[in-house]
């Protein structure tokens, strides 16, 4: 009960902060639109080897990957906002109160989840005129997967922000983590196009399973085993990431 209440408190404050910085929202809306309008048209040709002959089919492959990469990158970069709060003493002020430490993490991560899901909805809606079709239940399941992804990557990012000895190290560390994850999960182009060795490496990347699960959902194969596998992998990793990060929120000095 206290956890839910405290999480809601932190979450509300985070939403307010986002609302007071409209540039965040503007960037959040414009970015996915660019991806969809400036990059997707290249795909029809590029995805022919995958059997995509129409725009609708190309979007079915591309949109899930785009949504996943949005949540991976968006989540991993959210730690930067925590750096500012750490510097301003906001976290320390909260840590002197009896507020739940897990709530300090969850309230912030949920803000990020909500922002990323909102972006995902915008992209989905914009892709409809291009012929994307996806069943409502499948879509909800896909959003659940995305929400877990966003929660996991935000928790990791906050953890990194708390562990790093100085702020300047944040950008290179996050980039180094995010780049191989995104490339090896086939977010922009399916890993099936890659040579065999790359495909076997990708199978060790948990995000690969998430992206494959998303693609199955978007092509109406909710029963495919990769869907529950993806959900399971992501759920386990999310729990671990939240646990790690919450411990840092209660113990770190910065």
């Amino acid at each position: 009960m206290k956890l839910a209440r405290d999480t809601w408190l932190v979450f509300q404050r985070q939403l307010l902060l986002m609302w007071r910085t409209p540039i965040w929202i503007a960037v959040g809306v414009v970015q996915p639109v660019f991806y969809l309008l400036l990059f997707a048209p290249l795909l029809k040709q590029a995805l022919i080897p995958m059997g995509a002959t129409t725009y609708a089919e190309a979007y079915q492959i591309y949109v899930p990957g785009l949504l996943a990469v949005l949540c991976i990158f968006g989540g991993l970069y959210t730690g930067f906002s925590l750096l500012g709060e750490l510097k301003a003493g906001v976290i320390e002020r909260a840590r002197v109160t009896p507020v739940s430490r897990l709530a300090l993490l969850l309230g912030r991560a949920l803000r990020e989840v909500v922002a990323l899901i909102a972006q995902a909805v915008i992209i989905t809606l914009l892709a409809l005129p291009f012929g994307l079709r996806v069943g409502p239940l499948n879509l909800l399941l896909a959003y659940l997967l995305l929400a877990l992804l966003a929660l996991m990557t935000s928790a990791i990012s906050y953890g990194i922000a708390l562990v790093l000895p100085n702020d300047a190290a944040m950008a290179p560390v996050v980039n180094t983590v995010a780049q191989p994850i995104a490339l090896l999960s086939g977010t922009l182009l399916p890993v099936a196009l890659a040579p065999m060795w790359l495909q076997s490496v990708a199978k060790w990347n948990p995000f690969y399973w998430a992206v494959e699960g998303m693609r199955s959902l978007f092509s109406d194969h909710a029963g495919a085993s990769v869907v529950w596998q993806g959900l399971l992998v992501v759920a386990v990793l999310t729990t671990a990431a939240v646990y790690w990060s919450a411990r840092l929120f209660s113990s770190r000095i910065r």
Binding site: D6, L9, R13, L16, L17, R20, T21, E85, A88, G89, V90, E92, R93, A94, R95, V96, T97, P98, V99, I253
Partner: protein, 318 residues
Amino acid sequence: MIETKGLRKSYPSGKRGQTVVDAVRGIDLDVQASEIFGFLGPNGAGKTTTLRMLATLIRPDGGEARIAGADLLADPAGVRRRIGYVAQGGGTNDTVTAREELVLQARMYGSGKAEAQRQTEDALKAFDLTEFADRPCRTYSGGQRRRVDIALGVIHSPQVLFLDEPTVGLDPASRSQVWAEIERLRTEGMTVVVTTHYLEEADALCDRVAIVDHGQVVAEGTSEALKREISGDVVLLGVTADESGPAAAALRGQPYLERLEQQGEDSLRLYLDDGATAIPQLLRVLDGAGVVPRTVQLQRPSLDDVFLARTGRSIDQS
């Protein structure tokens, strides 16, 4: 109200954390209810680390402490409910208002919505914040911001308030305003612990002072008692750099002189029982040694003299 025994904290330092810095090396305290207690010492003396340990922000490596009846190590949550803590840098968000911060703070301490509103109204009135309470925090002056910080620290009416360098960077008017707020909290029954490296702050504000150096308390008591331990008066002699050696040599054997310290290149601090009667004798001795001081000042000893006597350094030089 606060009792500590042998409180210790060390940090790894150096490139691979192989060396250890002892930030706090065994601090024993006994702070009474409704007193303003000061930690006075140079930067890096371990004042902030001690305060952060008492505020449950960092875990001590050793020792024990009880704050308002709660055990620091066994019941940090109990300690948190009984204390308020205001960090040196505050902790407000630039884009939200004082009112919003106060409501959130009250709610983080467990108040319901209506109660948090009421506590916020009370705090706005008590700290005279109403005028700017609905402007974002980034628009506040240093003094306004500090008052908001302190109001946040006591929104839940704690028994103990910890303030880390409450007046650093404030102009004199804002400083005395902050002092007045702290005095008011004390008269309302709160126990207040402040850290400071300002001598006048320790002197003017604190009922009792612990002088801290290198992670240890080197002296403790009321500022009057501490100064009384130093002999009665201080005479400050201004001499040229060349003359300071011969002048010191000539004065050292004098029976009325208790101690002599070189201060900078061109002045000598003399500690003696009764400065007024000693000055004529001093001047005669100096005359005999061929030294004519440029200035002679008679001073009451300050807390810095206490620090100097215990550590051999001045607080400002450390």
